[in-house]
């Protein structure tokens, strides 16, 4: 005897991200048997708006594609435009861009660690990691004047310099961040609360990861060594030694370890970059009019490969500008991870790809048989998950 499956809509509301997702789950008892994603609920038409603004105005718009990876987006944008212009930015600017990019990665991974801990009900870790995240936010504020939307990049270089006093403060902050992350990694390795909820959950096999074009830590946690910083070096990454972190567990805990280890790598990259910071100008003057041309620009954002395509027509505005953020690249893989798992694992598996999800997610359960419907918020679903695991 077979029972009819039940469909569960998940989402969609996300006040703070470009890509709020909606998922229609098909469940058989506690098991997810099918997932259908839908995005675009706060599609802001940025690509169309970019065609209507000048290259300098677009810098501000690009910065606002994402709140967390704002530097990654502007780096991608500026290097695309600089490539078409044929402008070579000063070495000091390249190093400063790298330092900010890695501070941003540390910030993102600390933020993610807290959110993932929250999803599995480990709120102590959530509070601790977000407290320590303040260290890196303060550093970013010290350098750029802003906690988010650093606005450091401009076409032709960077807008602010890093003084020796700032270098000293960053060095101190990095020591603290490195030590704290070492502690969190130790907790993640020894604490059964974490391993019980994340080990063997949300499996993405390497061959699926490749077929579904996964990117970033999600891909690297499936044992595939791919990182734009190493494979297609940009800004100063070809001059700085670092390791590409991979784990082959293919599950959520591997994604956690990848991010922990990436923080150590980022700390080392920043230390190296500050030690070898070249002297000289931080920006060059570039013309407002960009000649006809096109460029594909790639950046390893904290969440994975970010790709921009720019086409210019010789005016002060772009002919076509396309941006693809890493979350979109990971949605097909996410669907693969969710199928076969439990309802209770949905929050942590979704959080596992780091998709800029807010906790305002709401979820409606519809029983197909009698059309009975009840709505669960993301918060209630999280509680449901914790309770469900406690019963075991």
């Amino acid at each position: 005897m077979s029972y009819p499956t039940i469909r569960i809509p998940f989402g969609p509301q996300h006040p703070f991200h470009i890509e709020p997702e909606y998922f229609m789950f098909e469940v058989d008892g506690e098991r997810v048997v099918g997932v259908k994603p839908r995005i675009g609920y706060v599609h802001r038409g940025i690509e169309k708006a970019l065609e209507d603004r000048t290259f300098i105005q677009n810098l501000y718009l690009i910065e606002r594609i994402c709140g967390i990876c704002s530097h990654a987006h502007t780096t991608c944008y500026t290097q695309a435009i600089e490539e078409i212009l044929g402008a070579e930015i000063p070495p000091r600017a390249r190093f400063i861009r790298t330092i900010i990019a890695e501070l941003e990665r540390i910030h993102n991974h600390y933020l993610w660690l807290g959110l993932a801990a929250h999803e599995i009900g480990f709120d102590t870790l959530f509070m601790y990691s977000w407290r320590d995240r303040e260290i890196v936010m303060d550093l970013l504020e010290l350098v750029s004047g802003n906690r988010v939307h650093y606005a450091m990049n401009t076409i032709g270089g960077v807008r602010r310099d890093i003084t020796p006093e700032i270098v000293e403060k960053i060095r101190k902050g990095l020591d603290a961040l490195e030590e704290r992350m070492r502690y969190y990694k130790k907790i993640a390795m020894t604490e059964p609360t974490i391993s019980k909820r994340t080990a063997g959950i949300g499996i993405l096999k390497p061959k699926d990861a490749i077929a579904l074009c996964a990117v970033g830590p999600t891909l690297r946690a499936s044992g595939i060594k791919r990182d734009v910083r190493a494979d297609d070096p940009y800004i100063a990454y070809d001059e700085i030694p670092f390791n590409v972190i991979t784990y082959d567990g293919c599950d959520v805990i591997s994604r956690l370890f990848v991010r922990c280890d990436e923080v150590f790598e980022s700390v080392n990259i920043i230390r190296y970059a500050m030690h070898h910071l070249p002297e000289g100008k931080i920006r060059i003057k570039v013309p407002k009019r960009v000649p006809e041309g096109e460029a594909v620009s790639r950046v390893e954002a904290p969440r994975g490969e970010l790709i921009h395509y720019a086409k210019t027509n010789g005016t002060t505005k772009p002919e076509r500008y396309k941006a693809r953020s890493p979350t979109l690249g990971n949605i097909p893989s996410l669907c693969k991870m969710l199928v076969g798992g439990y309802i209770a694992d949905i929050p942590i598996v979704i959080a596992g790809i780091d998709p800029c999800f807010s906790c305002t997610d709401r979820m409606a359960f519809v029983n197909v048989n009698n059309n009975k419907q009840w709505i669960l918020s993301g918060e209630e679903l999280r509680r449901y998950a914790i309770k469900w695991y406690r019963k075991e």
């Binding site: 994603p37 839908r38 995005i39 675009g40 599609h43 038409g45 690509e47 169309k48 708006a49 209507d52 490539e83 490749i210 077929a211 579904l212 074009c213 996964a214 791919r226 990182d227 734009v228 190493a230 494979d231 297609d232 096109e294 460029a295 594909v296 790639r298 490969e305 790709i307 395509y309 086409k311 002919e319 076509r320 396309k322 693809r324 979109l328 690249g329 949605i331 097909p332 893989s333």
Partner: protein
């Protein structure tokens, strides 16, 4: 000339060998970047060759651009994380139809749907071309990234002259 540049030129050479005059334009602007414009009729053959024989198994994204009377669809294919090959195909605006590549690269599903949404390109054989970015109630003949649809015109059509 560096070793990497030769690798990119080698790829272009192999492509020209495969499809001959159907390579309409090709350019290697810098290391690890290739732009190739090909004839629409050899599209499936080329993509199959690139993915199966030349290891361009990762699709970074698919861009659609309005280039006047035609729509240019650009497949950003990647090999081993390094070389990014932008394969361009032009389709007529009146009849924008291309075969899907989701059978070769399942990861292209959402990218094809996105191009379908914003430019109206139909990918034959795609399992589900329902809206992914635009709302369900969006008028079916409005393709926001086509140049004839200016922001003002879209506002007028979609919000009925600014009133909701």
């Amino acid at each position: 000339m560096t070793e990497e540049t030769t690798e990119e030129n080698e790829i272009v050479r192999r492509m020209k060998h495969l499809i001959g005059k159907n390579v309409l334009e090709s350019e290697v602007p810098r290391p690890r970047r290739i732009f190739i414009l090909i004839n629409k009729k050899v599209f499936t053959k080329t993509v199959r060759y690139l993915t199966k024989k030349m290891e361009f198994s990762h699709v970074s994204t698919i861009t659609g651009a309005d280039v006047g009377k035609e729509i240019e669809v650009i497949y950003h294919l990647n090999r081993g994380g390094t070389i990014e090959l932008s394969l361009k195909i032009r389709v007529e605006k009146d009849k924008p139809v291309l075969p899907t590549i989701t059978d070769l690269i399942p990861g292209a599903t959402l990218y094809e749907r996105e191009v379908h949404d914003i430019l109206g390109v139909i990918f034959e054989g795609h399992p589900d071309l329902s809206p992914i970015i635009l709302p369900e109630a969006w008028p079916s003949d409005v393709y926001p990234l086509r140049k004839e649809w200016t922001i003002k015109k879209i506002q007028k059509k979609v919000t009925k002259g600014g009133k909701r």
